[in-house]
């Protein structure tokens, strides 16, 4: 009987602590939004973070996108060829990237590369009393440190996702047109005719914006909430990747359902 009570106690504790964390993260998001004026008035602070989170992520984004595009080209060609529509390879590659893979894979890579860096940086700043020192200098860490990083993530994500889609299409082109020999005119014209700006591209951008908000707030919250120890920061960094990945995939399903339904 006692072990059964302990079991339910553990479940209850786990659920309430998660709800509490969600509440604290929402409060942090609210504080960031009301403290964002400085991030735009002194835009160089945000620009510096865009460099660290966005520009420094370019290599992994471009290389991954090229390989994803090439794999899509290969897989797509061998499937479409069975139905005699290998010219539609351009559409397949473009739609897969613009609608799904661009925003989702970019967000996953962003969480692994920039998200972990943000969490570790904020966590270490907390552990080494840098945030307390800032507070004691009457400078709000939310305004000076957190908000510029948040907006940098939100601005960088759609740009990175667009670059991912473009480079991916180039990878698909290399395999389909240059290596396999699909007609170049058919590749581009089918793509142009079947990719809709509002329905495909704008929806992809909306997805990447939402992922940008989710990934960045998770990374910032985990860093801000991390216990100020080496173990605490390391656990927080791991949680950033796991939580971000699950949230990205969950949000993608929800948004896709609404977008296709609409």
């Amino acid at each position: 009987m006692k072990s059964l009570i302990n079991f339910f106690e553990k479940i209850g504790y786990s659920v309430t602590s998660r709800i509490k964390r969600l509440g604290t993260a929402s409060r942090l998001l609210f504080l960031i939004l009301v403290s964002s004026g400085e991030s735009f008035r002194r835009f160089q602070l945000t620009m510096k973070e865009i460099y660290f989170t966005g520009v420094m992520s370019l290599v992994i984004i471009i290389v991954s996108a090229f390989f994803v595009g090439m794999v899509l080209g290969l897989q797509g060609y061998y499937t479409l060829e069975k139905y005699g529509s290998s010219e539609a390879i351009g559409v397949l590659v473009a739609l897969s990237l613009v609608r799904e893979l661009g925003p989702v894979v970019t967000a996953l890579l962003f969480a692994g590369r920039a998200g972990t860096a943000i969490t570790a940086e904020i966590g270490l700043m907390k552990a080494t009393e840098q945030l307390s020192a800032m507070e004691m200098m009457a400078v709000s860490p939310i305004q000076r440190i957190i908000a510029p990083r948040f907006w940098a993530g939100v601005i960088s994500m759609p740009i990175l996702a667009s670059i991912f889609s473009m480079v991916g299409i180039l990878g698909g082109y290399v395999i389909a047109v240059i290596v396999i020999g699909v007609d170049e005119g058919a590749f581009w014209s089918q793509m142009q005719a079947n990719v809709d700006f509002r329905y495909d591209i704008v929806n992809g951008v909306i997805k990447s914006l939402v992922f940008g908000v989710a990934c960045t707030i998770i990374a910032l919250f985990e860093g801000f909430d991390a216990p100020p120890t080496a173990e605490g920061v390391s656990r927080a960094t791991t949680r950033t990747v796991v939580t971000s990945s699950l949230v990205i995939l969950g949000l993608d399903f929800i948004m896709t359902s609404f977008m296709l339904g609409g």
Partner: protein, 264 residues
């Protein structure tokens, strides 16, 4: 005439049901260097955090320039903190900024001074701590003593009325320790500030502090000038000042008998 810039009245503070401070009263006078001493875990640093409004007391109050700290809203707290400078135990320098930028940080955040004036002020502050030649270095390139001196230059960047030092001598070699002692005294006198030092280094503190509070068991166990405390007959003060092994402060944390723990 000296007046009390900071007054601590019947302060109680604790985490959960455990009380760390059980009714502390202290006064810090303008232009004086005061020290708060006591063993590890006696809540010395917590007093600095309470003065800075980073945490709130359970009861009692702290008045900074006649304003009750814990009753201030965020902007009120920030207004008070602009009059304070704090040296953290490990410096807490911003690791992504150079020595120059660290010292310039409070000036950039709180003033609209042009870059040439900021440069002059930063070099002036760095010169005061003897590190003008290190302005280009990054915090990772500094020794512990140098990092603390840069942090001190940053703490006095806006010429604060109150300067708080958290364990300024911890882990320093004798030369750096003597330099920091000298700096604390000379900066306090030059700025006409009120300095509070949290430390457990007896010899250094007694050499230059004006007034000392001893904290033990959550209360002020003794207070007075270094001369008065040196002459004190109180067992706790004697044990602390003369680094005696035996006395009212036990070395061991309360535990069952050794034999019981070893299963003998």
């Amino acid at each position: 005439m000296t007046d009390n810039v900071i007054k601590i009245q019947n302060l109680t503070f604790g985490y959960g049901s455990e009380l760390l401070h059980k009714g502390i009263n202290m006064n810090f006078k303008k232009g004086k260097v005061s020290a708060i001493m006591g063993g590890s875990g006696s809540g010395k640093t917590t007093i600095l955090k309470l003065i800075g409004g980073q945490i709130k007391p359970k009861s009692g109050s702290i008045l900074v320039e006649n304003k009750i700290v814990h009753e201030q809203n965020r902007s009120g707290i920030y207004k008070l903190r602009r009059k304070m400078g704090m040296l953290f135990q490990h410096g807490a320098l911003f690791t992504d900024l150079s020595v120059y930028e660290n010292v310039a940080f409070p000036m950039r955040e709180h003033t609209n001074l042009p870059e040439n004036i900021i440069k002059d002020l930063v070099l002036l502050k760095l010169n005061a701590v003897g590190l003008r030649g290190a302005y280009k270095l990054m915090p990772t390139e500094l020794s512990g003593g140098m990092a603390r001196r840069v942090a001190l230059a940053r703490a006095i960047a806006l010429d604060p009325d109150i300067i708080m030092y958290d364990e300024p001598f911890a882990g320093l070699d004798p030369i750096s320790m003597a330099v920091i002692c000298d700096l604390i005294r000379s900066l306090n006198d030059a700025l006409g500030a009120t300095s509070i030092i949290v430390t457990h280094d007896v010899a250094e503190t007694f050499s230059f502090a004006d007034y000392i509070y001893f904290v033990a068991d959550g209360i002020v166990a003794a207070e007075g000038s270094p001369k008065q405390l040196m002459a004190s007959k109180l067992p706790f003060v004697r044990q602390f000042i003369h680094s005696e092994k035996d006395g009212p402060v036990p070395f061991h944390v309360a535990a069952p008998t050794y034999n019981l723990d070893l299963g003998l």
